[in-house]
Amino acid sequence: TQLLEQSPQFLSIQEGENLTVYCNSSSVFSSLQWYRQEPGEGPVLLVTVVTGGEVKKLKRLTFQFGDARKDSSLHITAAQPGDTGLYLCAGGVDNYGQNFVFGPGTRLSVLP
């Protein structure tokens, strides 16, 4: 079974600070996705990366896929209270990227 670990498990910061959360595995993934989930709702897809070393930016969020496709990071610049939520990474575990394993998540709280 391929496993994904996420760190830190919890993060509480002040509005305006920068932060990075990590998603790591000893396994290679065909793709890597990041989601944000708010209480009582389903996860919402933020980005999918498929190429080793790939970097994608979504406004203040920067996502990077490791060169070996075993790890990923999410960097948030100038965090806002609206960024609060559970951040989940998910790896594509087959060659078609259609079967996924999720990490346990990083719970982020941005205080005003």
Partner: protein, 114 residues
């Protein structure tokens, strides 16, 4: 578009009862998924489907069954409910683009087995 809809939102079952969790999508997506999310544990894949008539097991399929007779619907059947099946269940649909599948999740069904 309603996206992915799930019913019911909440349900309490007694041990040994059975039920079907409904999932429907109106985006004409080929891929559909069922996950369960336990507190602090992320999501675990139960079953998935790559098209009507095709289903496959995920990481934790025991105690569940699925069918995919149409593109739109992907019901999840629980037989002989057990306390270990207490969880939040999420259905997702997805489409393939540029070598990957992007998933869109429903709002979830919170199930308690007593």
């Amino acid at each position: 578009n309603a996206g992915v809809t799930q019913t019911p939102k909440f349900r309490i079952l007694k041990i040994g009862q059975s039920m079907t969790l409904q999932c429907a999508q109106d985006m004409n997506h080929n891929y559909m998924y069922w996950y369960r999310q336990d507190p602090g544990m992320g999501l675990k894949l139960i079953y998935y489907s790559v098209g009507a008539g095709i289903t496959d097991k995920g990481e934790v399929p025991n105690g569940y069954n699925v069918s995919r007779s149409t593109t739109e619907d992907f019901p999840l059947r629980l037989e002989l409910a057990a306390p270990s099946q207490t969880s939040v269940y999420f259905c997702a649909s997805g489409y393939r683009a540029s070598g990957r599948v992007d998933q869109f999740f429903g709002p979830g069904t919170r199930l308690t087995v007593l």
